[in-house]
């Protein structure tokens, strides 16, 4: 996996007047990914998932080169992304959102139960403790916030300060309150299988936020990924991809182990 993007093809599509860029790889059931506040970044975990799923990783409007002043709320952004999904001819998707993208994914699932067959939330930021701030700072500071072991993670490509500032402003403008009664009421009504993952060492969104999802959605699965920080799929790609892939293929039955323990037949 030296070249993570090798399997992926970049394309774009016109949606709601936005040019929406996306990366696509693999065949099989559609797995749509919505990135976190740092923008679209292909990861080894997405590469692993693309061996089983048709992975479509969108860049949400305003996180790339073009500005986005038009989207007024996170609900608007979710609506736009649902239109993007349908513009690709998809009528049923597995939806996965990371951090800020997890909050967008929650809204999309609430708005479009018909479209979202299963929901995966990686350290979602839709429910946050008071005073929680989006990740920002120098690349080193960002890495310390995102990872339990920043020294083990290859440095991310440098981001122009102006672009980083614009993304941060967009997230602040759209993210909404830390506890949004409308979102939480909507989550209570979800009928699709839901998997919520947190790294045990997440310092951006405390893993204890997972309890709120279980309060709202008793049938959701809450998973702790050991020794990962906020960016779970970057830090524990095999663990993340195995859990998500198994969940999407078997949904609730993924709690039943298929691990073989026979030492010698």
């Amino acid at each position: 996996m030296t070249d993570i993007g090798a399997r992926f093809r970049e394309r774009s599509i016109e949606v709601d007047g936005f040019g929406v860029r996306y990366q696509e790889a693999g065949a099989g059931p559609a797995l749509v990914h919505l990135h976190g506040a740092g923008g679209l970044r292909l990861t080894p975990a997405l590469e692993l998932l693309s061996r089983t799923f048709r992975v479509i990783a969108f860049e949400m409007p305003g996180f790339g080169t073009a500005e986005n002043q038009r989207t007024q709320s996170i609900q608007d952004l979710a609506t736009t992304m649902a239109v993007a999904v349908e513009a690709l001819g998809l009528t049923q998707i597995n939806l996965m959102g990371t951090s800020f993208g997890g909050a967008v994914a929650c809204w999309m699932a609430v708005q479009r139960q018909d479209l979202v067959a299963a929901l995966v939330l990686e350290a979602p930021s839709g429910i946050r403790p008071e005073g929680s701030e989006p990740v920002s700072g120098s690349p080193e500071e960002v890495a310390r916030m995102l990872y339990a072991h920043p020294e083990r993670i290859p440095a991310a490509p440098a981001v122009e300060p102006a672009l980083a500032a614009r993304r941060l402003a967009l997230v602040r403008r759209l993210r909404g309150p830390g506890r949004d009664a409308r979102l939480e009421e909507g989550l209570r009504g979800l009928g699709m299988p839901v998997l919520v993952l947190f790294g045990t060492q997440d310092v951006v969104i405390p893993p204890a936020m997972g309890r709120v999802y279980k309060d709202l959605l008793p049938n959701a699965h809450l998973m702790f990924v050991y020794d990962a920080g906020h960016a779970v799929m970057v830090e524990r790609p095999e663990a993340f991809a195995e859990a998500v892939g198994d969940f999407l293929q078997r949904t609730d039955a993924f709690v039943i182990s298929q691990t073989r323990t026979v030492v010698f037949p």
Partner: protein
């Protein structure tokens, strides 16, 4: 200073038994084994009367030296017979256990004992990797992860899945939860950088054992530095020092006993196994590599009459910061239960009253 009596079971092995590990099961005498467990009650009841704060148990296997391969089973038995003294499991070997099972059993014990459980979690001595076929190179990682999972299993209110490096569980939701909330006083035991940092990060205690005060002070110092770096300071009773003691009526009597002390390795392995384990089972003190203790006798930190031992305990506190000493009374002849009770009595009368303000 709090003081803990380390109850090892006291199996009276014939003196001509070779010092090997594992000890053949054929050497085990069932009726002597039965006496061991009956004697436990007498000893810990006595320790409670003498003012010991804790009774401690540990996990070892395949050996007459410590007859509690399941300290949880022993603790359940003891909990029914004493009513004040705390029961310290120092501790279950996390590296070769199912951490969820450990969390369940400890929560049961805490509840059965009316909230008198103290928990120490550890990696285990090198010989124990052979007990359940564990790769010695994986014990560190399994211990760190297992400890984290045990704390999580005690404190998460909802069923959860665990996607670890060594452990994978899709459904964890332990009943009962511990009586002491959020969980019993818990210690990471060992000298390693990893154990100290785990303890500091999770705001739990730390325990060292069987080493010179100056060297153990490096480990406890690292723990305290890591706590300070994370903005908290451990209480004195959050550091345990486990050690052997030879107590006499006088210094001279203790010295004579020390000279007669059989300096034998606790778990003596064949040379080939010992050599291979020394390569595979890496250990450190506060990050400084050191060979594992294999086929070497454990030191005796406290030797002397009561006054001398009190001074040694004071020095232990000054150097290591420990606020709890956990003592193995290994005076030769104390395999004779009556002699052991005499030594405990001496400690209770002449030492305990003088170490409370240390």
């Amino acid at each position: 200073m709090k003081v803990s009596y380390f109850e090892t079971g006291r199996y009276r092995a014939p003196s001509d038994l070779p010092a090997i590990w594992p000890m053949p099961a054929a050497a085990y005498e069932p009726s002597e084994g039965a006496r061991v467990y009956q004697g436990m009650i007498e000893r810990i009841t006595f320790a409670e009367q003498l003012g010991f704060d804790w009774i401690s148990l540990s996990e070892h296997h395949y050996s007459p030296r410590i007859l509690t391969p399941s300290p949880q089973v022993a603790a359940a038995y003891l909990a029914a017979h004493v009513h004040k003294i705390k029961i310290a499991l120092l501790g279950p070997i996390v590296s070769h256990s199912n951490p969820v099972r450990v969390a369940e059993e400890l929560a049961m014990l805490d509840t059965i004992s009316d909230g008198r459980l103290v928990v120490g979690l550890l990696r285990g001595t090198p010989n124990e990797t052979l007990t359940y076929d564990l790769n010695p190179q994986e014990t560190r990682g399994r211990t760190d992860e297992g400890m984290e999972l045990i704390l999580k299993a005690w404190t998460e209110p909802h069923p959860f899945s665990w996607q670890g490096r060594h452990f994978r569980y899709r459904t964890v939701s332990v009943w009962p939860r511990p009586l002491q909330q959020p969980h019993p006083p818990t210690f990471a035991l060992g000298t390693s950088r990893e154990a100290a940092e785990f303890a500091a990060r999770n705001r739990i205690g730390f325990g060292v054992s069987y080493g010179p005060f100056e060297i153990m002070a490096k480990a406890t110092g690292h723990y305290r530095d890591e706590c300070a770096r994370r903005g908290w300071q451990p209480a004195s009773d959050q550091i345990i020092f486990r050690a052997n003691i030879i107590l006499g009526e006088t210094d001279a009597q203790a010295q004579r006993a020390m000279e007669a002390y059989p300096l034998r390795a606790a778990f003596s392995l064949s040379e080939g196994v010992a050599r291979a384990l020394l390569e595979l089972d890496t250990r450190n003190i506060a990050g400084e590599m050191r060979p594992a203790t294999i086929n070497r006798p454990l030191p005796v930190n406290f030797v002397g009459g009561p006054d001398t031992v009190v001074n040694q305990i004071r020095r232990c506190r000054e150097l290591t910061g420990a606020g709890v000493i956990d003592l193995g009374f290994n005076t030769p002849g104390t395999a004779d239960p009556a002699a052991l009770l005499d030594t405990l009595s001496l400690f209770g009368r002449k030492v305990i009253p003088h170490i409370r303000d240390i």
